[in-house]
């Protein structure tokens, strides 16, 4: 058979409003989308506190805080699934756990965390609310995930929103500073209407036949 075996006709009808499919993970991750145009830094990806202390000697306290904060962030922002099987099909078997905020949801295990230095030489009281103060600087941490099986998340460090930060064989990732700040979905719009002028010019072209049915071909 050379044609589509079946088509969901109900979903194609326009005379009544089709119910919106509300994926669970959307509600939580709506705050995750990155802003744009932020400067970048090399961030270490630590699989555990020990690796963090190896790179940051005498910073046990910073590394422990970073780890806990990243775990909290992972709980809040990791992709959620309604079945363990679904989660494991993306992240590998035995790599998913029950969400502690809702025991009906499953999410991937946090594979590591990135530690970002927001700024240095500040006092405890002047760190932005999403960061924490340690050793005369403001820091923030971000969880990363990977698949222990196959699938599209294998071999790489991925943020909760699916952004790929580099290969698991690498100990660092090049990330924009936005990774460590609260995720924005919106930004101030400076202007509008910078696209569409060529189409407008072409449709107001006169000629013997009406033009402008559409811009496909």
């Amino acid at each position: 058979m050379k044609r589509s075996k079946s088509i969901n006709l109900a979903a194609m009808r326009k005379t009544s409003v089709a119910p919106k499919i509300a994926a669970i993970s959307l509600a939580v991750s709506a705050v995750l989308l990155q802003g744009c145009g932020a400067p970048k830094q090399e961030a270490h990806v630590f699989k555990n506190i020990t690796e963090c202390v190896d790179i940051n000697p005498n910073q046990q306290s910073l590394c422990e805080t970073a780890h806990i904060k990243a775990l909290n962030e992972a709980e809040r922002t990791a992709p959620k699934y309604t079945s363990k099987r679904e989660c494991e099909s993306e992240f590998g078997s035995s790599n998913c756990l029950t969400s502690s905020s809702n025991s009906n949801w499953f999410m991937p295990v946090m594979a590591g965390f990135m530690l970002g230095n927001i700024t240095s030489n500040l006092t405890r009281n002047s760190c932005p609310s999403y960061s924490y103060f340690s050793n005369r600087g403001c820091y923030s941490s971000s969880p990363v995930f990977t698949s222990t099986g196959g699938g599209s998340y294998a071999g790489g460090w991925y943020g909760a929103d699916g952004t790929r930060y580099g290969k698991t064989s690498s100990k660092t990732a090049r990330v924009s500073n936005d990774v460590f700040t609260p995720k924005k979905t919106t930004t101030r719009t400076i202007s509008r209407g910078g696209f569409g002028s060529v189409a407008k010019a072409k449709s107001s072209w006169g000629g013997s036949r009406r033009y402008g049915g559409g811009w496909g071909g």
């Binding site: 044609r3 910078g194 010019a201």
Partner: protein
């Protein structure tokens, strides 16, 4: 290959209303035409259309591979220099493609000939993936056609599957969809693609091209000031690169469907390049650049702008003299010449086959008919069957 006259379903316009097919009649004239259908054998479809479509696509990819790294060719394709890197990176990074439509002249015997590749903004996908499929279901259900009548059309299933594939690493990010205002046809086409994306579990949101904003941090925003991270556009790359927000495309980090590199395939400079790389290929027509005019001084050629659509600004040249032409607003960037190979005639109509690919897989065909030899935006759309 035959053209078979048949009767319209009495209720088809009500059905169109029910399923949101609003542009079935345009400017008072029929566009969707079910007073006849075309009939093919399975061999004709598989050997003469499906296989050559996939082969032609691979040949086009070879052209892209050559052009993206060659400044002289990029200039010949009239791509502004500021965007050369972006196009090159888009190809190197293998940014995914959703679909293309290759236009073929084919009469049932002999190799189909490539007219052009609508690789950036192909239209008629709704009529093809859904509406003509529904027509066949109806004809089988009401006994007009036998139960084992088939159609070369797995477009909708493949579209949904491809959306799922493209989405796999971005599962929670909104995919914006965009087209111009004031065109029911484009809005209907985009709605269809949104419907497919919805069935693939993708959060989708519509914004008109003219409403897209410049967000702080040099990105694009929709009317809710939401950052546009990935966007399907039914709007040509060659327009965007020449508009005020063109330079923003370089900083915005927005992923597009179709991706940057497809703009090389939709450019008619593709045609002389194909002829250079694959001369005498059975599915190709000889084609030449302006600077190869020695080849067109005798014989009949079709002169086509690098950037044009739906037959606009096409003219036919015989032995160097203009024969007929279609008006239009295109041609600024120059032209190519393709050997004249007329469309086949069925009754009083010239018939063009649009052969679709979803990514690199042949997925189905659409049929357009016109009393004029040059297919245009008002050319009628007819269904087909395989028997």
């Amino acid at each position: 290959m035959q053209r078979v006259a048949t009767s319209e379903r009495p209720h088809w316009r009500d059905l169109a209303e029910e399923y949101g097919f609003q542009f079935h009649t345009m400017h008072g004239k029929p566009y969707w035409d079910e007073t006849a259908y075309y009939q093919f054998s399975l061999r004709q479809i598989e050997e003469d259309i499906e296989a050559p479509t996939e082969e032609l696509h691979q040949m086009c990819l070879e052209v892209v591979a050559q052009v993206v790294k060659d400044e002289q060719l990029l200039e010949k394709f009239c791509i502004p220099e500021a965007y050369w890197n972006a196009i090159h990176n888009s190809w190197q990074n293998k940014q995914p493609s959703l679909y293309s439509r290759i236009d073929l002249a084919y009469n049932g015997t002999g190799p189909a000939k490539l007219y052009e590749n609508n690789a950036d903004t192909p239209t008629s996908i709704y009529e093809t993936g859904f509406w003509q499929w529904l027509w066949l279901e109806d004809q089988i259900n009401n006994g007009k056609l036998s139960g084992n009548t088939d159609q070369f059309n797995s477009l909708q299933e493949k579209l949904i599957a491809r959306f799922q594939q493209i989405n796999s690493t971005n599962s929670q990010q909104t995919l914006h969809f965009s087209c111009c205002k004031d065109t029911a046809e484009d809005r209907g086409t985009v709605q269809y693609l949104q419907d497919c994306a919805e069935q693939a579990g993708i959060t989708n949101k519509f914004v008109f091209i003219e409403d897209i904003g410049h967000g702080e941090g040099d990105c694009f925003t929709d009317l809710d000031d939401q950052i546009i991270k990935r966007m399907f556009k039914l709007y040509p790359w060659e327009f965007m690169l020449r508009e005020d927000y063109g330079p923003l495309l370089l900083s915005a980090e927005t992923q597009f469907l179709e991706p940057w590199w497809k703009s090389i395939v939709s450019n008619k400079a593709l045609l002389p390049m194909l002829w250079q790389l694959f001369p005498d290929h059975p599915n190709l027509l000889p084609a030449y650049f302006e600077d190869q005019r020695q080849h067109i001084s005798t014989g009949t050629f079709v002169k086509k702008p690098l950037f044009s659509r739906e037959g606009a600004n096409i003219s036919i040249i015989k032995d160097g003299q203009l024969q007929n032409n279609i008006d239009g607003p295109y041609g600024e960037e120059g032209y190519i010449y393709q050997s004249y190979y007329p469309l086949p005639r069925f009754d009083n109509n010239y018939t063009l086959i649009g052969s679709w690919l979803i990514n690199d897989e042949a997925a189905g065909i659409s049929i357009r008919e016109d009393s004029s030899i040059i297919t245009q935006d008002l050319s009628r759309y007819l269904p087909h069957v395989i028997v």
